[in-house]
């Protein structure tokens, strides 16, 4: 494909005639970045048809005359012109072309040159991505692309990262994009135990292997993936070898990490003072708290005997550990004209910032491409990965480290009498779990893709590709006898899940020039099947805590095995037509059938069309071509689908259950044989431009995405025996504007480039054909509002007269009440940002480079679900945030913190008291690198040596009072619908890590 395009490009460009006195000029073409020879670069004598192509060592030879101009071109590199003088040798060092108009972009079932794209596709800058110490690649590209909102759930390792491409297109079905790695749609859904937060199989993808990441955003680009493309598609390709001497690369990164932020809690004295006051405020005339017991007895009973011994424990500190990271990548690549390969090996050992949280990853890859004959070539990509995680419990468990902050500072961490961990605490001391429980998850995964292509005619190639993604995940958990759930004699769980996901594709590619026109077409089919099998066994009663396997359990408390699956059968067609390198047209269509849909509505059709016009190529633009060097308009329209619902959602089912050893059946869902795709129609209008000889380039896109026939889990009257059923009803829309700018501020010895992107997306639920949907009485789906909007009572602060929490009675009223039931919930904000974006500055001077990447999110709100414990006017003995000291004390006090009252729930109901602005600006990555001078490096027999230091999440600017504004407690056992709706929700959720790393990268 690449060669085909190249050939056609050369043919176009070489249509001139030669002149002058000839001599033979030779030379070597090298890449400035790594100093390696460039194979396949074209050399052309300006104004002639004479051309040459560089060989595997970068050598070329061409006939030219003095005074001629040689033009050196290579895709992805800046074009260079050299006027021939008296010399016979001209060596050229090519620089990467930042504008990237000629770079190859991988699209579904093929690739294209960026200049010729008619759809909205972003190729993400992957340079340096392997230097960023995040657990998965999606977190490493945060803030780098417009139209893509990426949010990490928390600072725990390996958790699912939220990615929204142009907003949420569904209420109940999946909103995450489709991920395609080397042509195979990979398994991305959480496979871990429902008792804990979801983990992401994307963590397995090794960043050092990644060659390119493309994000297909509009319908024209994505519709070729049909029924799963509504949320956009992320296409990842891995590195391939190039003909030439074997290149070795060795990279080592090491670093430390710490929480990016800590919260401020009451110290011992403040706690004692404030809770004494809280008890006084609920004591009767005899000094009895709640008319029941004196304060001292209450202290003794709930906080424990140490309450008056002057302790001042910092429990927050106990939740964290010093994180560290060690990452090694070794790779070799090379080959000859017939065979090329890339082999890579990686090892990543990360210790998280939360106690007991770690991840250890190993990955081996071999990519092999073989040209068997002129016509037949085949390839193999093989990746074997092992990812092992030590996890901590879910955020809503007493045993999770961060719930330690709820403990009283007046209780010591260790029991002063025994020296053991203190068990006399208000809540379970989760340090016991960190000591006596293990929570281990190991996955083995193989991603393989074998393909063959045969050139039947020059213009027609057939390709068959078989890809598989086999993922085997095992969890081994043990809770010792002294832990919260391990009593009286230990509990263990052994769970395993295997997903066998394979994909077979066959397609023709047609490519032919017709004079100044070109037709490029793809037609084919694919079949994908994903089968999951699993088993789980839990047991209790172990002789000692040393035994963790079921073999030693006294009794099995739970046992299960299951299998499930889904399949897709698809036919697709796409044609690209271009005229005079100025006008571009694309049409595509895909027919998709899925097992997930009802018999009556199993197949869906997803068409798209788009056009592009490079206006700057027109003659009438010549006069201003110095200023407006590049201008292209694009427009596209198309329909994509979503099938991200549970398997079998269309069937009426009775499920098997067991009742104390007796088998049983119960109805679980109602039938909908007409259940079909959710359709998203998207219109995109884009403008690409380059100013001042492309010193400043940019892209602007405006889109309207309208989703109809929503796959909605539609609420039913519960009196029917069912809470809902899957149906295609309702609609929503996403409208947005996104732009990105790239500026070469300074070129020459001192290079300074700036990338800036910003995206505005407006999500609106248009119709849900039923009542408002809320999974938690906080986040709602309401017609006319964006998904997940906060609808809660509005808090009005403390009553200046008596310190009661006050709420507004309704949306249009200044009237307040202390009776929570009379405060009508109102829409008070959205968890969806008004805009997001990123700013990247890159500086380079003589081998020294500095990158500063910032990202920002603006206009979203966050609800602290733990606010009614953490900042609760001393409702219970949980340690309180420092701001509770601003409580109401005397008549006339005006404050937002109601009077402290133990056990009185003064202002603890769900209200805007716990809702805050979640906007932030984060300095996500700062990295400073130094490439040693070539002379020095060559003396060491190396081609390149780079050392770098980096810091991630160095600073965060925000008004959010919790640990981290980049937060979303993902919950446990949560349906996709609830995951979509519950956004911007904090619940003892760990902050992101701030990481400092140091690394070296050697090529030879």
């Amino acid at each position: 494909m690449r060669k085909l395009l190249l050939t056609s490009l050369i043919t176009c460009l070489l249509s001139f005639s030669a002149f002058g006195q000839q001599k033979t000029i030779t030379g070597v073409i090298k890449d400035k970045t790594d100093g390696l020879p460039i194979t396949g670069a074209t050399v052309q004598v300006l104004g002639s048809t004479t051309g040459a192509i560089s060989d595997a060592e970068g050598r070329y030879s061409i006939s030219a005359a003095s005074g001629n101009t040689l033009i050196f071109r290579y895709i992805g590199m800046k074009q260079q012109e050299v006027v021939v003088g008296t010399e016979n040798v001209i060596n050229v060092t090519m620089e990467p072309d930042d504008v990237g108009l000629d770079e190859i972009v991988v699209v579904g079932y093929g690739s294209a040159i960026k200049r010729e794209l008619t759809g909205a596709i972003t190729k993400v800058e992957t340079k340096g991505i392997a230097e960023i110490p995040t657990a998965s690649f999606d977190a490493a590209i945060q803030g780098k692309t417009s139209g893509v909102f990426i949010e990490q759930a928390s600072g725990k390792l390996g958790e699912t990262v939220k990615m929204r491409i142009r907003g949420s297109s569904s209420v109940s079905a999946n909103n995450q994009p489709l991920y395609v790695v080397d042509g195979v749609p990979i398994t991305t859904e959480n496979l871990s135990n429902d008792n804990n937060q979801p983990t992401s199989p994307l963590t397995d993808i090794n960043m050092a292997d990644v060659e390119s990441i493309q994000i297909l955003k509009d319908a024209s680009a994505a519709a070729i993936y049909g029924s799963r493309a509504s949320n956009g598609v992320v296409i990842i390709t891995t590195k391939r070898g190039q003909a030439g001497a074997t290149k070795f690369n060795l990279q080592y990164t090491t670093g430390i990490s710490e929480p990016s932020n800590l919260m401020e809690w009451l110290n011992g004295d403040q706690y004692l003072m404030l809770f004494n006051e809280a008890m006084d405020n609920v004591s009767d005339g005899d000094g009895l708290v709640w008319g029941w017991l004196p304060k001292e007895d209450i202290w003794e009973m709930f906080v424990g005997p140490t309450w008056n011994e002057g302790y001042n424990s910092d429990w927050q500190k106990e939740a964290f550990q010093k994180g560290r990271i060690n990452r090694v990548n070794v790779s070799g690549s090379g080959g000859n004209e017939m065979t090329t390969y890339f082999a890579g090996l990686s090892y990543d050992d990360t210790k998280g910032i939360l106690r007991d949280n770690s991840m250890n990853k190993m990955s081996a890859r071999l990519n092999l491409d073989q040209k068997a004959t002129e016509r037949l070539s085949f390839g193999l990509q093989m990746n074997v990965i092992r990812t092992e995680m030590e996890r901590v419990e879910n955020d809503n468990a007493f045993a999770t480290p961060l719930q330690l902050v709820a403990q009283s500072p007046l209780t010591p961490v260790y029991d002063p009498d025994t020296g053991e961990l203190n068990t006399n605490t208000i809540y379970y001391n989760s340090l016991i779990s960190l000591r006596d429980a293990t929570n281990n998850q190991t996955s083995y995964r193989s991603l393989a893709n074998i393909n063959a292509s045969y050139k039947i005619f020059d213009a027609l190639t057939f390709k068959s590709e078989f890809g598989s993604d086999i993922l085997d995940l095992r969890e081994k958990n043990f809770w010792g006898r002294k832990t919260i759930s391990g009593g009286p004699a230990g509990e263990a769980q052994n769970r395993s899940v295997r997903v066998v996901n394979y994909n077979w594709e066959n397609y023709f590619t047609f490519n032919k020039e017709f004079g100044s026109q070109n037709l490029n077409a793809v037609a084919g089919m694919s079949y994908q099947e994903s089968m999951t099998t699993g088993s789980n066994i839990e047991g209790k009663g172990f002789p000692t805590d040393d035994f963790h396997n079921m073999a030693s359990a006294a009794e099995a408390t739970s046992f299960s095995s299951w299998d499930d699956g889904n399949s897709y059968l698809s036919y697709f067609l796409r044609a690209n037509y271009k005229i005079n390198e100025k006008y571009f047209f694309t049409v595509s269509g895909r027919v998709d059938g899925s097992s997930r849909f009802g018999k009556d509505n199993r197949f869906g059709f997803f068409p798209a069309a788009s056009a592009g016009w490079i206006i700057s190529q027109e003659d009438f633009m010549r006069s201003i071509s110095k200023t407006l060097s590049y201008l292209k308009v694009r427009a596209s329209y198309g329909i994509t689908g979503n099938s991200g619902i549970p398997d079998y959602a269309h069937l009426a089912l009775y499920s098997s259950i067991n009742y104390a050893g007796r088998y049983g059946l119960e109805p679980t869902q109602l039938q909908n044989s007409g259940l079909g795709w959710e359709n998203t129609a998207q219109t995109d209008i884009g403008l690409d431009f380059g100013l001042f000889n492309n010193r400043l380039t940019g892209e602007i896109d405006y889109y309207v995405k309208k989703t109809t026939d929503l796959l909605l889990y539609r609420t039913l009257p519960g009196t029917s025996g069912f809470d809902g059923y899957w149906n295609n009803v309702g609609e929503l829309s996403n409208k947005g504007l996104e732009f990105s700018l790239h500026s070469n501020n300074l070129t020459g010895d001192f290079v300074w480039t700036t990338d800036f992107n910003m995206s505005f997306n407006r999500n609106e639920i248009i119709n849900i054909d039923g009542p408002e949907i809320t999974p938690n009485s906080i986040n709602y789906v309401i017609e006319g509002e964006p998904i997940g909007v906060f609808k809660i009572a509005k808090f009005a602060g403390a009553d200046p007269d008596n310190g009661d929490a006050l709420y507004y009675v309704g949306p249009d009223s200044d009237e307040t009440t202390n009776n929570f039931n009379l405060a009508a919930p109102q829409v008070v904000g959205s968890p969806n940002p008004k805009f997001t974006g990123g700013l990247n500055n890159y500086f380079e001077y003589k081998g020294l480079d500095l990158t500063i990447l910032m990202s920002f999110v603006y206009g979203n709100m966050i609800y602290n679900g733990a606010g009614n414990y953490q900042s609760a006017s001393c409702d219970w003995f949980d340690n309180q945030t420092i701001d509770q000291l601003d409580r109401w004390q005397n008549p006339g006090d005006v404050t937002d913190v109601p009077q402290v009252r133990l056990g009185d729930g003064n202002g603890t109901k769900i209200s805007t008291r716990y809702l805050t602005d979640g906007s932030y600006l984060r300095v996500r990555n700062v990295s400073l690198g130094y490439n040693l001078p070539a002379s020095l490096v060559n003396r060491m027999k190396l081609t390149n040596l780079r050392i770098y230091v980096a810091a991630t999440n160095l600073f965060t600017f925000t008004d959010y009072k919790g640990w981290d504004p980049e937060v979303n407690y993902t919950g446990v056992s949560r349906s996709t619908q609830n995951t979509n709706i519950i956004q911007g929700y904090d619940f003892y959720t760990a902050p992101q890590a701030r990481t400092y790393t140091l690394g070296i990268n050697i090529s030879f």
């Binding site: 029941w292 809540y427 379970y428 039947i456 005619f457 027609l460 068959s464 006898r481 832990t483 009593g487 009286p488 066959n506 089919m525 079949y527 099947e529 209790k540 099995a556 046992f559 299951w562 299998d563 499930d564 699956g565 399949s567 059968l569 059938g593 899925s594 097992s595 199993r602 079998y648 069937l651 089912l653 009775y654 499920s655 067991n658 009742y659 104390a660 050893g661 088998y663 049983g664 059946l665 119960e666 109805p667 109602l670 039938q671 609420t715 039913l716 009257p717 519960g718 009196t719 029917s720 025996g721 069912f722 149906n727 408002e772 809320t774 929570f820 039931n821 414990y869 219970w876 729930g905």
Partner: protein, 480 residues
């Protein structure tokens, strides 16, 4: 040669085209492995009987008989004998007698109750019953009616204002749904029936169950279980003659025997001699939620329901039902607990308080109706009804029979109304009776009258949203 090449190329083209069009539409038929399709679920006697077992499992759910029915009653009723000291916000709302319409306990109770009712309705369809032989048909119909009638009884008294005897109870109860939901079209909006209509339905179902069911039916419902629930229903209606008659029938004919000590009636792996009906629970079942809330032992319970020592003062010092074990150690499980109350030792949440030993193990049966209750019903019904005593005993004899097992000194004859009522509390506390007893006796709960609007549950917010025919209980609209 050229022709040959063209030929082979065409062949390759054809083969590739074939590969492209490989038809595998049948591969799109992937069936579930852990479920069967509904249209075959109730088509054979085996499957129908399996679905009947499913109904027991649904009934045992923590949101219904398994725990919440008990918790609503005890939390609403408490005015200081038990304190809720846990972190969950939902139970706390009931204790404060200020539930919110979005309380998730209430929502799940509503949904699960009607889920169970729908399963019973599905089993009671004529075409389903027609597939069974006579014996099986009586069993399936009897058990399904037993569970349905009993469920309607519980939700009627939780969501509706109290039944008052001697008048027409036109206050809204719950919607009565008696047809199976087979498709989405059947999932229609319904409005609330009156409390009177609900009680009529409860009686219809339970009387039918009593007549259809055998006296012995393994761990499943029997005619005695149906009679025992009927006794409860009649008592709630102040229909004393019928209450005493049903209770007497169970006492006289059921063959049940009080366990040697009060505590022996609880935490059993098989039904005790006293169990007229119990939900089965073992190590492979879900954790018994009552234990989660009430217990505070090594590896079991959060100790959220803290019993006050003042409550224990109600018992005679010799009464086994009021004894406190205060020498507990951290290692103690329910097996080391020998008294009805103990000082909690759990590491899970609250230790150091007083906890009841009635719910002390996650994996033991959940007694629902014990013989002792029948004696108390007979005693109270005979006492309240001026006619001749039903059964061989006087109220005093019945009360003292129950006290005797607990080694509590006998009360002098004749017992008073207060003593009968107190005895019910002492014997049946923490088993989910208190709220309904107080309402029956028209006693105030704290500062609230027995029929105060905040002492009944709200119709869940989600249900009102989806069904505008449903009327919300007035306290949740107006505070009155």
């Amino acid at each position: 040669m050229k022709k040959h090449i063209l030929y082979s190329k065409s062949l390759i083209l054809l083969v590739s085209l074939f590969a492209l069009l490989v038809s595998c539409t049948e591969k799109l038929d992937i069936k579930p492995s852990q479920s069967i399709e509904a249209d075959v679920a109730l088509t054979s006697p085996d499957r129908i009987k399996a679905a009947l077992v499913g109904a027991y499992l649904d009934a045992r759910s923590l949101t219904l008989f398994g725990s919440y029915f008990n918790e609503y009653s005890e939390l609403y009723a408490t005015t200081g004998d038990m304190m809720f000291i846990g972190t969950y916000t939902q139970p706390r709302e009931f204790e404060e007698k200020e539930a919110t319409t979005t309380n998730t306990y209430v929502e799940s109770t509503w949904l699960d109750a009607y889920n169970l009712i729908n399963l019973c309705n599905s089993l009671l369809q004529d075409e389903v019953l027609a597939l069974l032989d006579d014996d099986d048909r009586d069993l399936v119909e009897g058990e399904a009616r037993f569970l349905r009638g009993w469920t309607y009884f519980e939700i009627t008294r939780l969501f509706g204002l109290p039944y008052v005897s001697g008048v027409t109870n036109s206050q809204p109860g719950v919607p009565i749904v008696l047809t199976a939901t087979k498709s989405v079209d059947d999932a229609v909006k319904v409005s609330r029936n009156t409390v009177e209509e609900c009680y009529d339905q409860v009686l219809t179902d339970l009387i039918a169950a009593r007549n259809l069911l055998p006296g012995s039916n393994g761990v499943y419902a029997t005619s005695f279980a149906a009679s025992a629930v009927l006794a409860r229903v009649y008592l709630q209606m102040s229909d004393y003659v019928n209450a005493a008659t049903e209770a007497n029938y169970v006492i006289q004919n059921g063959g049940f025997v009080l366990t040697p000590t009060p505590l022996d009636a609880f935490n059993n792996t098989v039904n005790s001699t006293e169990d007229i009906f119990a939900f089965q629970n073992n190590v492979a079942s879900n954790t018994n939620w009552l234990t989660v809330m009430y217990a505070s032992l090594n590896g079991a319970g959060r100790g959220d329901y803290d019993i006050q020592s003042s409550f224990l003062d109600r018992f005679d010092p010799l009464d086994l039902r009021g004894m406190l074990q205060d020498d507990t150690e951290d290692s103690y499980t329910i097996d080391e607990i020998t008294k009805m109350y103990y000082i909690g030792v759990g590491t899970i949440l609250n230790s150091g308080g007083i906890n009841t030993a009635k719910w002390g193990n996650y994996y033991r049966n959940i007694p629902m109706i014990r013989l002792a209750e029948m004696y108390l019903i007979r005693a109270e019904a005979n006492f309240e009804d001026p006619g001749t005593d039903i059964g061989p005993n006087t109220p005093t004899e019945d009360i003292n029979f129950v006290r005797d097992r607990a080694l509590a000194p006998a009360l002098p004859d004749p017992v008073t109304r207060e003593q009968i009522r107190e005895e019910r509390y002492l014997e049946l506390c923490w088993e989910g009776h208190r709220l309904h007893d107080l309402k029956r006796w028209k006693e105030d709960i704290g500062s609230y009258a027995y029929n105060a609007g905040n002492l009944i549950l709200p119709i869940p917010f989600r249900e009102i949203q989806v069904n505008d025919l449903l009327e919300q209980n007035s306290w949740y609209l107006t505070g009155k």
